[in-house]
Point group: C2
Chain length 521, copies 2
């Protein structure tokens, strides 16, 4: 993510801010003023932002390079080459776009959010192509996008014996991707009004509907929270017995709800219940709205505990995990605490879209498969590192459904409802319904395409779901929690790359670019 | 269906008709006048309608009774007993509710549409319980609901050797159900404004937003068209070689897009390509909007050919069937015409929600399974006998999606769009999105429940889909086109009964009854 504090933040959003429009607004107020035509200015901003990101990315590559150098593993040359190429291109882009930049408008916001990911993903995949694992371009891009989108599906077989630099690079990708998505979710998406995210305009943007300079302070505080969570998770994991390397890696991929592991058998390899309990806590922490952590820092913890999204999320987690634990205890005869941990760990892992596995939950029997498929697309709280549909949209849908049923019974009565202190109007409901429709529609389209490429139905359905929701494992023998995405064909992998990006960018950030009106002068 | 001509048709709909409300309407016009509280009057109307329906149902039972009598099969006693019980209860209900009836208001409309099905289904299942097949209550209700909802999933094994009265009764249920759903779809649902059906208010209801007496004439004409289609199909089927009994039965289950057959192997049993071509035509005919047939009768065929829903529907059918035929010809080496027929027949059978099978299309390979699953829920045109989401909703969703993406790019511009000459406003989009959301949400819930009852994922997913969309066959070994629903457990069958009714009644007709506001005085 470009640091918005680095760019002048006045916006040239021409239209009236939609927040000011209510149902009672007379039609005369509906101005048809369009945005100024897109010139080359938006691209200059995007190119400049990509330049900064590449320089930062090259800096990040020095970390795994140092690890491989220290261990004497020749992979350090791959990272060095990748870092050189990346910093070279990044600097060139920065030089080409130096000078004062225009303000960020809506169009630039869409371009910035979507195009930067493609550019970063390409350069971030270089170490996989140049290093000793020598992934093909397809595999390298798949692994990188799976990392940056915090999906966690892997095509690398033999993690246990892989060089540490490579393992660290995978975790770093998820660490960076998780931070990026928190910032995008809390700064850009509300600004772009995607999928009901206008509900989550922060106080700073509230005042003037502009990306104010104070955005910079907000970004810094959110990154601070993120770093503190990762540090706390690292300490907790070392305390319960992991070595520092494993602890750092899993802390980064847990808080980012990414799910990459340093082991082929994922968390199951440690056979350490305490590790699983720690990760349950930090996966949940990664799935909570990050803005609420700031409330705690500001001495207002009641904002945290009274957040309906957090409450509904935790109720859903317990409502699913407790019966599942009972099932494991009764049907499979497991000890109560063991059953509870196994159920909680794997449910939390999937619902927070992390994707760690402690065991193959497919062996728990067919009755749990539908459940795991359903929570795959559900996702955790908005404004977290999690993917999927997300709890607040489920809440809005529930409210909207009640309102709709009421409107059928009482067609003339206007019923109002609120969420997070703001009215649930038709515009908001339309945004949320459109998002969910696109999510599910894409799920259907990707299922048909994956099936047409020869995957069996369970792999196709769960593969589309796990990619779109950025979870990681699917169902079935190939991509299940005990499987690996390596055996899939290249066209399948590219489809999944597209699905991971679509889901991570909440669909519309990419889709608006396909609409002619976006490019019209 | 109650014949609306039989009941005084003035409505007491208190609120302003929603058609008159536009986006520019000031809030002061939003009256909060509620409906008059529900007293016992709505139930009197419903009971009276059920009385009439039971008397008619008893009359219908005389047909299979006569067939069994003529053939000397003892099953005639089962039909006689069922007819006696049904006519007895029906007459009692009519007597108990004789006298002038109050007008039909919105609440009564919901009760009438949903409750009559339950009552009719129970009595219509009696012949299955009393006859020689001696179905259990679960199986009898499943078979009856599958018939009345024109789903076509069967639990009866051994149709080839079954008495003719039983076979005729199954077909009659679909014939009656198909007629009922055309009338509900064109008279009640637009009145109830469910899932965007307000778009399809007929001219008569347009003028005053009331169920006018001319509704009677409309009903008569629609039933006339329906009978003509069934008669034409019967003649065509006898012409290509079916005996009269098979021809009548399949004509009734093709035009009603029901899909019950007189043979265990469905249409495949006849091994007659001409039969399949005839059925392709009449399944399509059953899937077209019945109002458009009236336009032909009124000498305005251009209304038929210019209907965008019909065009999009046929384009989808060909767009799916032609590549599939090419696949069959190239990969499976089938003769072009044979491949085209096989592809068209099975695609049309599923997309019109009929459910006839000419062969097990699961043997065509995994690449076609996702496709068949997707078109299972798509459905044909609205105002036809077909189930599913339906083409017009897909069209509205497409338009709404474009509008939504445009609104993200140009937040201040108001973009208007029309469908069938009426504006696509936010209320309409909300109705359609709510419907699709409930359809897909129910699909998810039923999948999880069916999976929890032990079905494998493919059977659970496709079973939920085929029941909700009233298609018939699902995927997998048990409920696939070559399978039978008999092996499923009783709880699974009851879940599927609920799903068939929910889908057939377009969800909200049943769901509004669960909302406290519906019962509030």
């Amino acid at each position: 993510m470009a640091d918005p504090a680095k760019t002048p933040a006045r916006t040239s959003l021409a239209g009236p801010p939609e927040r000011r429009s209510g149902p009672g607004r007379p039609p005369s107020a509906l101005r048809s003023a369009a945005l100024p035509p897109p010139g080359r200015a938006p691209f200059r901003i995007v190119v400049h932002a990509v330049g900064w990101l590449l320089v930062l990315l090259a800096g990040a590559m020095l970390l795994p390079m140092s690890v491989d150098l220290a261990e004497g593993h020749p992979d350090w040359e791959g990272f060095a080459g990748a870092a050189l190429a990346t910093v070279f291109v990044g600097t060139a882009l920065l030089l080409a776009t130096r000078g004062p930049l225009p303000p960020i408008d809506l169009r630039t916001g869409f371009l910035l959010t979507s195009l930067t990911w493609a550019a970063v993903a390409w350069f971030a995949s270089l170490p996989f192509q140049l290093g000793s694992v020598h992934l093909s371009i397809t595999d390298a891009v798949f692994e990188t996008v799976s990392g940056l989108t915090t999906t966690g599906a892997t095509v690398i077989v033999g993690l246990d014996a892989a060089p540490r630099g490579l393992l660290l690079w995978r975790s770093l990708l998820q660490f960076v991707g998780g931070a990026g998505i928190v910032l995008i979710g809390l700064v850009m998406l509300p600004f772009l009004r995607i999928g009901g995210m206008q509900l989550f305009r922060t106080e700073s943007s509230d005042k003037s509907d502009k990306l104010l300079p104070t955005t910079g302070a907000l970004v810094a505080r959110l990154l601070g929270v993120y770093l503190v969570l990762v540090a706390a998770c690292t300490i907790a994991l070392t305390t319960v017995g992991l070595d520092l390397f494993d602890a750092v890696n899993h802390a980064m991929t847990a808080v980012s709800t990414g799910g990459f592991s340093t082991r082929d058998a994922s968390i199951g390899a440690f056979a350490n219940p305490a590790v699983e309990w720690v990760l349950i806590v930090f996966m949940l922490a990664g799935g909570l709205p990050f803005m609420r952590y700031l409330a705690i820092l500001q001495g207002r913890p009641e904002l945290f505990s009274s957040d309906t999204q957090i409450r509904v999320f935790l109720v859903i987690v317990l409502g699913v995990a407790l019966p599942l634990a009972a099932w494991l205890a009764i049907v499979h005869g497991r000890a109560p605490l063991d059953a509870l941990r196994a159920a909680l760990f794997n449910i939390v892992s999937v619902i927070t879209t992390t994707g760690f596995a402690s065991e193959d939950y497919q062996l728990w029997g067919t009755p749990v498969l539908g459940l795991f498929l359903a929570i795959t697309v559900l996702g955790a709280c908005t404004g977290s590192t999690a993917g999927g549909i997300k709890i607040f949209r489920v809440q809005i849908l529930w409210t909207a459904s009640l309102l709709y049923v009421q409107s059928l019974i009482l067609p003339s009565r206007v019923i109002r409802s609120r969420y997070a202190g703001r009215p649930i109007d038709r515009e908001l409901i339309g945004s949320v319904l459109s998002f969910v429709f696109f999510f599910i529609g894409s799920w259907g389209v990707f299922t048909v395409l994956l099936s047409a490429l020869g995957l069996d139905l369970v792999t196709a359905i769960s593969g589309a779901a796990t990619a779109l929701a950025n979870v990681g494992p699917g169902l079935g023998a190939i991509i299940g929690p005990a499987g690996n995405f390596q055996p899939l064909s290249d066209p399948v992998k590219w489809l999944l790359v597209l699905a991971m990006l679509l889901g991570r960018l909440e669909f519309f950030t990419l889709l608006v670019l396909l609409h002619p009106a976006f490019w019209r002068r």
